[in-house]
């Protein structure tokens, strides 16, 4: 994996600051549901953060707000520049989003799916092609560029989805339970691959999951949210080696981290 990585760390990750972020939904009967009651959180540049919590705790809403696909009712989310000030918005390439399922366009082949973000941003075709091939190379999919999503396995589709996210060389990668629908063997492989991609690119990663083992295995820092209101119950630096391989899965240190995370969830 590491040897296929190109343009390592050309764009450093962004730092984010959440200040009193509150999101309330209202149903058709005007009942209000407080999804996130007021969250303060600082995310460092180049951090790999796992957000852990039970279903319905507001993890996805949080991610959508960070991607600016949704707005908080109050509070704000600030992208910090390296100098510490506020960064100008409108750089479309800097944020990428990976969903729970691959969500590919079934009428496009792998290459054109991976190139989609660049196409929407108005990048010229030769450059699109070159960058999409580079991104597909990073997820080891170069042999499948001409194939259509219907011809791919679930794991391969997810890798196309990952390549599509990487194609703009994002500085912030948001992942919403990306491997939850896959079998465990495929998931193990993709976990290692994602970790390696992060190590070579150092973008900021926010990884939302309800898998305790995945959070502990992947992240440098884990935040555990409460079932109601998205209160932060635990904010912990994961003390595991920089390089994460599948051998680590049986390591007692990983077990120790998982135990701490589980303790915070059940509290």
């Amino acid at each position: 994996m590491a040897d296929t990585a190109v343009n390592a760390a050309v764009r450093p990750g962004v730092a984010l600051r959440l200040e009193g972020v509150r999101r309330v939904f209202e149903d058709s009967l005007h009942n209000q549901f407080v999804v996130i009651a007021g969250m303060d959180l600082r995310i460092e540049a180049g951090e790999f953060l796992a957000v852990l919590g039970p279903s319905g705790c507001g993890k996805s809403t949080l991610l959508r707000m960070i991607a600016r696909l949704d707005q908080p009712n109050s509070g704000r989310i600030v992208t910090e520049s390296e100098k510490g000030g506020r960064e100008p918005e409108g750089d479309r390439a800097q944020t990428a989003f990976v969903f729970q399922d691959a969500h590919l366009l079934p009428w496009r082949n792998v290459l054109d799916n991976a190139a989609l973000p660049l196409e929407l941003m108005g990048v010229a075709k030769p450059e699109r092609r070159e960058k999409a091939l580079a991104a597909l190379g990073q997820v080891n999919l170069l042999e499948a560029v001409d194939r259509y999503p219907a011809q791919l396995s679930g794991g391969m589709r997810m890798r196309v989805s990952l390549a599509r996210a990487l194609v703009t060389e994002p500085r912030l990668l948001l992942l919403d339970e990306p491997f939850a629908a896959l079998d465990e063997i495929t998931r193990f492989h993709l976990d290692v691959q994602l970790r390696e991609l992060w190590r070579s690119r150092r973008m900021t990663v926010i990884f939302v999951t309800h898998s305790i083992s995945e959070a502990a295995f992947l992240a440098n820092r884990a935040v555990v949210l409460s079932r109601r209101g998205g209160a932060i119950k635990l904010d912990r630096i994961i003390e595991l080696p920089e390089e994460r391989t599948n051998e680590l899965r049986a390591d007692p240190r990983l077990g120790q981290e998982m135990k701490l995370l589980l303790g915070a969830i059940e509290e």
Binding site: H103, L105, W107, L116, L120, A150
Partner: protein
Amino acid sequence: MKAFRNILPPLIPFVAITAAMEFLVRGGFIRSYLLPAPSAVFLAIWENWGELAQAMLKTSASAMAGFALSTFTGIAAAVLLSSSRWVQKAFYPYAVFFQTVPVIAIAPLLVIWFGYGMQTVIASAFVVSIFPVIANTLSGILSTDPALRDLFRLYGATPAMTLFKLRFPAALPQIFTGLRVAAGLAVIGAIVGEFIGGGGLGSVVDVARTQQRVDKVFAAVLLASLLGLALFGLINLISGITLRRWHASEQSL
């Protein structure tokens, strides 16, 4: 071998029912001026082939013209309706209302507007076949995967880009469903139009009826059904070729 296995099951009831009808009519259980023997229908097709073939050609031309019109205007109307919720609320009820108007009742009106001849027949085929195109295209365009809509927003896609690169292609399976229904309806609309506007298989049915030629009525009806079936098959073929690559993945979209 596979084709044979697909053709055989529907062939069995066809042969059985044809044989039973032949038997019932020849045995005098059913009077032949009410229900002709199948052999008489086939004989009528054989004897009147020149006239019937020409009528069928004319009907299919009108049906296809009406169908093509409703395909283009129907899809365009659906795209317009999908552009804003307000436009949809204002105009969609009229599209539904339009569908409930019985074509047989407005056919005389079409004659007043378009005169006797093909224009009336095409208009009639168009009127009955446009609604399923609008309804299916609209529902297809509006049911785009929300995650993909988010993705397009994230990268700053314009509404036009979202329509042409996402909403419209994603709606294709549903659009084809609408077109299949519309194809059958266009043939019905053309025949009804021909009852009043004249020409084609509709005229053959009408004239044969006044002459008490039930066999010829059946012959024309049979050919009209085959025409609808052929148009349906054509749409199926086009849809199959268009959606070939992504058929299996519709659920994973």
